[in-house]
């Protein structure tokens, strides 16, 4: 489904070339639950941004469902981000001036997909599932971290993505709340057959994943 071949991401720092990730060869299959594990600064976030089509590699190719993403236009890439991927960030990245419901509906505004249910119906059924239905008209900064992360997951799911990319989803949460979020992601993988890619520096978070990829200094050291 997603295939990275000889992928490099290099930056020029003070005239010296610095590779955030180097020579990544990785194949992610449909329905997998993968953890990308590595200490901070290891390049795991850069790798996630590359997989999530937020960034372009300086060398190598990334193929999504057989398509070379370097050949896609901005609107094609944006559409893939919109319909193929769902992001969950450590910082939640909700827009605070929009209500919970508006935040969740935001991806549908940019979507061209047709669903049998209206965006609002889908949003409410997901909110019900994650127990945040009564928060629909609240603003994100009035919610607890766990609630905010569930709003973010709902937003990630609204367009029925094939992949959920979670970048340290428990990083800003206490252990108990973090556990609940991880359980939720596991469920999505098991019951909804959504591919989950979990980026973390904590080994006990990565335990949930069936496949672990360890990254250090921008290179995959163990997979």
């Amino acid at each position: 489904m997603i295939k990275l071949s000889n992928v490099f991401k290099e930056y020029k720092l003070d005239g010296e070339i610095f590779a955030a990730v180097k020579n990544i060869n990785l194949s992610i299959n449909k329905g997998e639950f993968i953890a990308i594990l590595g200490p901070s600064g290891s390049g795991k976030s850069t790798l996630m941004h590359l997989i999530g089509l937020l960034d372009n590699p300086t060398r190598g190719t990334i193929c999504v469902e057989g398509k070379d993403v370097s050949k896609l236009s901005d609107s094609q890439l944006s559409l893939l981000r919109n319909e193929f991927v769902g992001f969950v960030f450590q910082q939640f990245n909700l827009i605070n001036k929009l209500t919970v419901l508006e935040n969740i509906l935001l991806p549908t505004i940019y979507s061209k997909q047709k669903f049998s249910a209206s965006p609002e119906e889908r949003a409410f059924s997901l909110m019900e599932r994650f127990g945040i239905k009564e928060k629909a008209t609240s603003y994100p900064n009035k919610l607890s971290g766990g609630q905010q992360q569930r709003v973010a997951i709902t937003r990630a799911l609204i367009n029925n993505p094939k992949v959920i990319l979670a970048d340290e989803p428990t990083g800003n949460l206490d252990t108990k709340t973090g556990d609940k979020i991880l359980t939720l992601l596991t469920e999505l993988n098991r019951e909804d057959k959504i591919t989950v890619i979990l980026v973390t520096h904590e080994a006990d978070v990565a335990v949930r994943a069936k496949r672990k990829i360890q990254i250090r200094d921008g290179e995959i050291v163990k997979s």
Binding site: S78, L79, E83
Partner: protein, 401 residues
């Protein structure tokens, strides 16, 4: 459609959040739009006024005045204003021999004191032949105009304009059959004219006292005329008519002793000068619109910087570059349109006030121009900040704190 609604809702939401900033920014456009609209409406009013004057002067007319002049001074060609000569009945008779002439109308004017016995007022005496009423389109509202007979018999009758009638006899209709005293001579009022307008710098025909010119010889002992109005038959080339008049008068006078002026021509020249001045003024006022536009650009750059994180989030969840561009462009256009609408409202109110003294008005075209220009300003000055927002790298934007 839903997307557009979303853009509008988003923009309005942001304006609500930054009320003060929104009002101050649109103020620039408000001032620009209202000054442009006001100047345009004054220009339109002036044009309308001049057109009215055109009509009140009648068509196919030329005026023969003494002296060499380049531009006429309306009807008030008083003594001393031009050369030394005065026309007399001999000139009238000789001009009547021109075959293109329909009417040759001698005019003697004088500032007089008119009195009803009870009230008295300064007025203009306008002594002429019976043809004057047809010649310059004067119609009676009450009674009738004096006739050729009245002129020949030197009847002591007068026709008055509605304004002087109302001033002297309280009501226009009451003036009929009353005696009007002009410099201690009495005349019976046989007609009151319909209002003709004018009086804004031009001749105020509504305040004139019209007398048969032969009757008025008692007030004009020299039997001379200040102006002769000549009306050509229909379909006669006025240029040819003018030349014939000149030829006829040159038999008696020198070239510099008189002028034959075409009032309509003069007015159209004045009208075009005014419209050039108006265009220049509107262009100067448009500079303030430019300043307003720069204000919008400035605030849009601030907005983009404040919302880098939001832009990053939107990009991550699927907004294209174009989506971001349109979002900020829409906001700039709305900001400008709000200013434009407020500016229009302000100008409507001012025009409403001004209309008491001047026929300024706002037409549909002005409204369309005002709204079109303010949208355009929004687009022109919004496109650079919006492009800056659209070109942000999603990954850098989302990491921005």
């Amino acid at each position: 459609m839903q997307y557009l609604l979303f853009l509008i809702k988003g923009s309005l939401e942001d304006f609500r959040r930054n009320k003060g900033r929104t009002i101050l920014t649109s103020l620039g456009i408000l001032i620009g739009v209202s000054s442009v609209v006001l100047l345009m409406s004054f220009g339109l009013g002036l044009k309308k006024y001049i057109e009215n004057q055109f009509e009140s002067l009648g068509t196919n007319l030329v005026r023969i005045v003494p002296g060499r002049i380049l531009s006429g001074g309306g009807f008030r060609s008083g003594p001393g204003a031009f050369g030394g000569i005065r026309f007399d009945e001999k000139d009238v008779a000789s001009l009547k021999r021109i075959k293109e002439a329909e009417y040759i109308i001698p005019v003697f004017t004088k500032t007089i004191t008119a009195s009803s016995g009870k009230n008295s007022n300064i007025a203009d005496l306008y002594a002429s032949s019976a043809d004057i009423f047809l010649g310059i389109n004067l119609k009676t509202k009450y009674g009738a105009a004096f006739t050729k007979d009245d002129v020949e018999k030197r009847s002591k009758v007068a026709v008055v304009g509605p304004k002087i009638a109302a001033k002297l006899y309280d009501q226009e209709v009451k003036a009929l059959d009353k005696i009007i005293k002009v410099q201690d001579q009495s005349f019976r009022i046989i007609g009151v004219l319909e209002a003709k307008g004018g009086g804004f710098g031009g001749p105020d025909l509504d305040s004139f006292v019209y007398l048969p010119y032969k009757t008025a010889f008692s007030l004009n002992p020299d039997k001379k005329f200040m102006v002769i109005i000549a009306k050509a038959r229909t379909k006669v080339d006025l240029e040819v008519f003018r030349n014939d008049i000149k030829k006829q008068l040159l038999k008696r006078y020198k070239e510099d002793d008189f002028s034959v002026i075409q009032q309509a021509e003069l007015l159209s020249a004045i009208s075009s000068i005014f419209s050039i001045i108006n265009t220049v003024l509107v262009a100067i006022a448009a500079i303030s619109l430019l300043v307003g536009g720069i204000g919008i650009m400035n605030i849009m750059y601030v907005t983009v910087t404040e919302r880098i994180k939001e832009i990053g989030i939107r990009r991550a969840i699927g907004a294209t570059r174009k989506d971001i561009l349109f979002q900020f462009l829409a906001e700039a256009v709305f900001l400008s349109l709000i200013g434009g609408l407020l500016g229009l409202t302000v100008s409507f109110l001012i025009v409403l006030l001004v209309q008491r003294v001047f026929p300024a008005y706002i037409n549909l075209q002005t409204v369309a121009i005002a709204l079109g220009v303010s949208s355009l300003i929004g687009i022109i000055f919004g496109v650079f900040p919006a492009k800056k927002a659209a070109d942000l790298s999603p990954i850098e934007a989302i990491r921005y704190e």
